[in-house]
């Protein structure tokens, strides 16, 4: 129970009961507050001030004519009736349609849920190009002028699948210095040999992708407005690189703004806005062996076990309230289902929904009894 005696002006202004009295002037509220004021005559001034503040904040609200609302309601009814399928076909057709809707939602949410990681410091108008990165450096260059991807081997044992119209270059002593640096223009898939004390770095325009041993692809054509990095295995770190006179590429070692990218995540860097955006792939692939999938049959299994298994299989973080969902169980056969379908089935079983935010899946649910 609230003790209004302890309230100051601000407390009153923010109190729902007080607001209702001032706004709606209901009789029961009038009675309550008049009685209260009679019992606490010293509070008249505080109440009057709080009322005045609330009244000052009145809004000019234009009413919506009834016929407009009616027209809009009719329009909605028309739309949803048009969407109805003929009765006989329902079972199967509805099923597919709902699945399509779920997939569409997943994609839209991927866009809606993105979080931008703004860069601290002055945004630089510097455009780092392949030419400026490689100028005045004695480098070995490989160019793919054909129409098919070309397979290349690097001195350190790493391999590269170089897309058409793409080029890479690297120093002669590539594998004997502190970092293994590659300069890229275009698109390439990298399968990096593991060398824990020699980070492998790819410079693609303004961004640097740093890995220890993993496979990933980068798309960075000069003409594109974005640079994209996709991770297949392992984890990579990506950060921006602004060319600085007197500073060599080797100086760009650490960066507080780096973004860690996990498998099944795609990083999109908008060149113009200089912003990173992390999204999940539209159809994530399993990072564990197929055996993990074969075990995904559940009978009254606790929800954390199910989410853990999915998260591990795809190396995708699933965020949920463990306490809230502790009594939820799932009975489902998730084998051979794609990632989003699995999520969809589990969520439906526990009456939950999910959003993809910043490359992670966030479960929203009310809990189970």
């Amino acid at each position: 129970m609230k003790d209004f005696r302890l309230f100051d002006i601000t407390d009153f202004v923010l109190d729902e009961d007080f607001i209702r009295w001032v706004h709606e002037k209901k009789e029961e509220d009038e009675t309550f507050w008049n009685n209260w004021l009679r019992q606490h005559p010293g509070k008249h001034l505080v109440i009057a001030e709080a009322r005045r503040i609330l009244e000052s904040l009145k809004t000019a609200e234009s009413p919506i004519p009834d016929h407009v609302v009616t027209y809009e309601v009719d329009r909605l009814m028309q739309t949803i009736r048009d969407q109805h399928e003929p009765t006989r076909l329902t079972a199967r057709r509805r099923h597919i349609w709902r699945y399509a809707a779920a997939a569409a939602i997943a994609i839209i949410l991927t866009v809606a849920g993105v979080k931008y990681i703004p860069f601290s410091g002055k945004p630089s108008t510097f455009k780092v190009s392949y030419a400026s990165l490689t100028a005045e450096r004695r480098l070995i260059e490989k160019v793919n002028t054909s129409n098919t991807p070309v397979h290349l081997s690097l001195p350190d044992g790493s391999s590269i699948e170089l897309a058409p119209q793409s080029r890479i270059s690297y120093a002669k002593n590539f594998d004997s210095v502190g970092t293994r640096d590659i300069y890229l223009s275009g698109e390439a898939f990298f399968d990096v040999a593991r060398m824990p004390n020699r980070p492998f770095r790819v410079f693609a325009n303004n961004i640097v992708t740093k890995v220890l041993g993993t496979s990933f692809s980068i798309r960075s054509f000069e003409a594109d407005t974005t640079i994209q990095v996709i991770v297949r295995t392992g984890k990579v770190s990506v950060f921006t690189y602004n060319e600085n006179p007197g500073k060599t590429a080797a100086d760009a070692v650490s960066n507080p703004d780096e973004v860690i990218l996990a498998p099944n995540q795609r990083l999109v860097y908008e060149k113009a806005a200089q912003k990173f955006q992390k999204v999940l792939l539209e159809n994530p692939v399993m990072t564990l062996s197929a055996e993990a999938d074969r075990n995904m049959v559940y009978d009254e299994a606790p929800i954390d076990k199910v989410f853990d298994a999915i998260a591990k299989a795809y190396d995708i973080t699933i965020v949920y309230d463990t306490e809230l969902l502790q009594h939820c169980t799932v009975t489902a056969d998730l084998r051979h289902e794609p990632f989003y379908r699995k999520l969809d089935l589990v969520c439906r079983a526990i009456g939950a929904s999910y959003e993809v935010i910043d490359g992670q899946v966030v479960i929203q649910a009310g809990g189970c009894d």
Binding site: I9, E49, E72, Y116
Partner: protein, 191 residues
Amino acid sequence: MKEGLSQQEVSWLQQLQQNSEQALAMLMRHYYADLFNYAARFARDESVIKDCIQEVFISLWQRRETAGTILSLRYYLLRAVKNKVLKALYYNDRKTGLDYFRGDYDFFHEFSIERIIIEKQISEENAEKLKRTLEQLTKRQKEVIYLKFYQHLDHGQIAELMSVSRQSVYNLLHETIQKLRSLWHTAFITR
């Protein structure tokens, strides 16, 4: 019963889960003005607003089976409308697009000072002061005030809807109240 849902809303949602078009129609009728007025604070174009509200109710209908997961209908609808409208406004605009994720969008909000002048008979001088004070509020302060005093959302919902912390919601409200307190304190008129 879930917190934040009235008896009426719970019943509409239950009917909705049972495929009642009637419940959907009643829901739209009930919330239309509030949703329209909120959307009108981001967008000037009425047809954009109306289309966005249509889409919000169409998706509510499409996900009616999971309507039971909605904890607050008002919050759900306001958030959906805001997202739709902002996306419609900014999505195709490469220059300013996507800035709205960082809270950088317009919020057109007018206070009805004329009404308070008539109702409370305050002096022209004080009315002028009040007007200036309210005009100086930031877009985000106006949005918080609107969501708190007109849509009656709680601080947690306001924070989520505006992608800020609960503390910032409180701070934004507090600053506004402080400004008005000092204004009325110096020019207090007894009735």
